[in-house]
Symmetry: C2
Subunit: 129 residues, 2 copies
DNA sequence: CTCCTTGAACTACCAAGGTAATACTACCGA
DNA sequence: TCGGTAGTATTACCTTGGTAGTTCAAGGAG
């Protein structure tokens, strides 16, 4: 498992692939055109680079390429969050949560959800004891 | 206010500057040499690039440059966390916390700390009502 | 069978991060 | 005054992400 760190566009492309499991270049282009307005060749080039990198794979079907993600969204999240965690918070998740609470005004509903999350986490740990 | 996104080395340099408020090229180099083993010119070049970018400033003192950070660690954290939040979790902080709990095994002590954090957050909100 | 269209391949740039050798300058000591 | 040394400026190169024009190949239309 290498470093699955994705750039902006790469991530956008991956999201399309994650959403529909597989897609042609044209489909990806169409899905992203409204927000990005990129040339189809840009998408195609990026997909090839991403294949070199190992995060997508393609299969030929009916004269065009059908791409598919080879890494899960969660795997990407894991590596990228870990990276940011190490860089910015010396690997301390609580410090990141603290920053989140202080900086991104989390409303009461969110706080409730988080509290529930923590309760679940503790409940799971209780079970294994 | 631009995007204060820092690369790996840039962030390491900033940490030195944040730690001691200001430092010469040689001091930064010395502080990072053990872990990175970079040439002094590399640090100097990077510092100049960072100055172009606006995240540090220098003053000449006694024939050498004394650099100082012009952005706070918290400002950098804010922009970088926000970016990751938007990219990976559609801007939902709770989703990030959820990921953190699920993925980075947070031990019971951490959970307690987080719970306390959330309590404080709610307490603050209660006060303002 | 030939030409057009479509989509992939190739090539080419640009910016930013990173890394560093080399060139220059100015001070200090002999 | 002359040369070494210290420290900055210049220049250069590599990688990755991003963006796209141009070329090429193969299937479909006439």
């Amino acid at each position: 498992m290498g470093k699955h760190t994705l750039g902006e566009l790469q991530h956008a492309i991956m999201q399309v692939l994650w959403a529909r499991d597989e897609a042609t270049v044209a489909e990806v282009h169409e899905a992203l055109f409204d927000e990005r307005g990129l040339a189809p060749t840009t998408i195609a080039t990026m997909l090839r680079k991403m294949e070199d990198k190992g995060v997508v794979a393609h299969r030929v079907e009916d004269r065009h390429f059908v791409y598919q993600a080879t890494v899960s969204e969660d795997a990407v999240r894991s590596t990228m969050v870990s990276e940011l965690l190490d860089r910015l918070f010396a690997g301390d998740p609580a410090a990141l949560v603290s920053h989140l609470v202080a900086d991104h005004d989390i409303d009461e509903a969110e706080v409730e959800r988080l509290r529930a999350l923590l309760n679940h986490a503790e409940a799971r740990k209780d079970e294994n004891r």
